[in-house]
């Protein structure tokens, strides 16, 4: 498998030299056709990373490193090139669909608009293409709802419209930033199912950003864990749940109600996430880490550790059952 999106040493910093990086030296390959989850607590930099890839960060953000989409550099390119890319090869869906749609435009026109921003196509054709897209994402009576204002649709339907608009030009990569967080649980499942189906039908690569390990377990092929701007562990979803190697991943799994693995009681992680003004040298988790060693003040590189790859000097031991299976 080849990488569709390849990130290397991506860093984002808001403010002066003395502030900590919001995204800290992230290296990552996202494979063609997979759904890759990025999971972490709020404020860990996962949304900032997605916005950096899209070139949507405010001018005050300092972005460095490299991001290649299909072997083409997309970080630090001109606004015009970026615009041609966005909504065409590269798309993004945001957390709150109600807030993602212009309340004064009809939902159908907002899909057609994306098409016409990138293709020379007549208004009528754009409209019929938009209706087809609405049908594909599961809007009943798509032609009849084309002219409806967003507030006339339910939250789940609005998120489907947003997805249709993002996929209108069949992008290679879809970044979905907490696409289901604002929705009811049942609707959430439907939207995730839709994203999976669209990937299966069109081969669209998806990066799904979420704080919910349940969503990851249900949807993603592989997953990356972020803590305080650092990508600490990457693995196939099942492997990550079965054999987390980074102490943070393990603590996160233990603290998650939906995928509780070992103990009956929900664990909490002692201490607090460092703020943007706090400079933690090396691994940012070390002040809270039960397995801290001296080397931790030097940033560890992410290295393959059996099933996963983790950035840790003193990784968790492989559970016996898993180790047995590996042999």
């Amino acid at each position: 498998m080849t990488a569709l999106l390849s990130l290397s040493e991506v860093e984002v910093r808001f403010g002066g030299e003395d502030t900590a990086n919001a995204v800290d030296r992230v290296d990552l390959d996202v494979h063609r056709g997979e759904i890759f989850g990025i999971v972490g607590e709020s404020g860990c930099g996962k949304s900032t990373l997605a916005n950096a890839i899209m070139g949507l960060l405010p001018d005050s953000a300092h972005v460095s490193g490299s991001a290649r989409l299909d072997d083409r550099e997309i970080l630090g390119i001109g606004e015009k090139e970026l615009r041609a890319l966005r909504g065409d090869e590269l798309s993004m869906v945001f957390q709150d669909a109600s807030a993602s749609l212009d309340p004064t435009w009809s939902v159908g026109d907002q899909i057609a608009e994306t098409i016409r921003a990138h293709r020379t196509i007549s208004g009528r054709k754009a409209k019929s293409r938009a209706i087809a897209l609405m049908e594909e994402v599961g809007i009943p009576d798509a032609a009849g709802r084309y002219g409806d204002a967003p507030h006339r649709l339910s939250g789940g339907m609005r998120q489907r419209i947003v997805i249709a608009a993002a996929l209108a030009n069949q992008p290679k990569l879809l970044l979905a930033d907490e696409p289901t967080t604002a929705l009811d649980v049942t609707i959430q499942a439907q939207v995730l199912q839709l994203i999976r189906r669209l990937r299966d039908d069109h081969g669209t690569t998806v990066v799904l950003i979420t704080h919910d390990l349940g969503v990851v377990a249900e949807t993603c092929d592989r997953v990356g864990v972020m803590y305080a701007g650092q990508l600490v562990e990457v693995a196939a979803t099942a492997d990550l749940f079965a054999a987390p190697r980074h102490p943070y991943t393990r603590a996160l799994l233990a603290a998650s109600p939906s995928v509780r693995t070992e103990s009956r009681r929900l664990a909490t992680i002692p201490g607090q996430v460092p703020g943007p003004a706090e400079q933690v040298p090396g691994c940012r988790f070390q002040p809270r880490c039960p397995r801290r060693v001296e080397q931790c003040s030097v940033t560890p590189a992410r290295v393959p550790l059996g099933l996963t790859s983790a950035a840790c000097w003193n990784p968790e031991p492989l559970p016996a059952a898993v180790a047995e299976g590996l042999r």
């Binding site: 403010g15 919001a22 709020s42 949304s47 916005n51 949507l56 960060l57 405010p58 953000a61």
Partner: protein, 286 residues
Amino acid sequence: MTATAVAPPVARRRSPRASTRLTIGGAVLLGVLVLIAIAAPLLAPHDPETVIADQVLGAPSMEHPFGSDALGRDVLSRVMYGLRVSLLVALSSVVISTAIAVPLGLLAGYFGGWVDTTVSRVLDMILVLPALLLAITFIAILGPGSAVAALAIAVIYLPILARVMRSSTLVVTRNDYVLGARARGAGHLRILTSHVAPNALGPVIVQASILSAFALQLEAALSFLGLGTQPPTPSLGGMLSEGRDVLNQAPWVEIFPGLAIVLAVLSFTLLGEGLRRAFDPRGVAS
């Protein structure tokens, strides 16, 4: 979390220092103008109403720095006295209006229900007419003059100030310390005077200082139309009206009173804007 949420929200707001500078600038300018107005009898080089025949439309000179008008009166002295009348009318109109609006808004916001409905509906009636037209209507009934002009301006601002007081009372009333006072069995009057009113006044004071700028313009406009301060008492608006016919020969008769109005309006605007940014960042009073 989206890109906009990442950027610290504080950076977008103006720094508190900018608002302090505005407030101080406005306050100093206003202080100087008020001082000139109060001390006009001491500062004015000439009597503002004395007619000097050989000084008709005299150009600015050492003797008459702002020149003299069609009747040979000293323009500088008249501007000083005019400022006095204009500031007095503008300030008293805002004070009268605030004095009536505060209790009305307080009662409407605190008790709600039919009290609120009645007060709001009655005040809404005032807004049926455009402001200047309402003032003119008032003057049409009571006859022209400084006092009537002050009263007319006060009536115009009543609904605006009462509304601001009402909404800030609503906000304050929901606070725990008010509920706490009520739970301790304090009477309405005590709660209103010692808990609600002092905390709800901020936005009203901000709004009142912003409205003072408009009151000053309105007073000048009414006097310009001959409906406010009556001659021979000098008023800034009245001077502009008298000088209109001699504009070509003696522009100084028009320029200096107008500049005085602009400066006074500016001082209130700066003060109001500064106070608003300092005390009311969420903009209840706008």
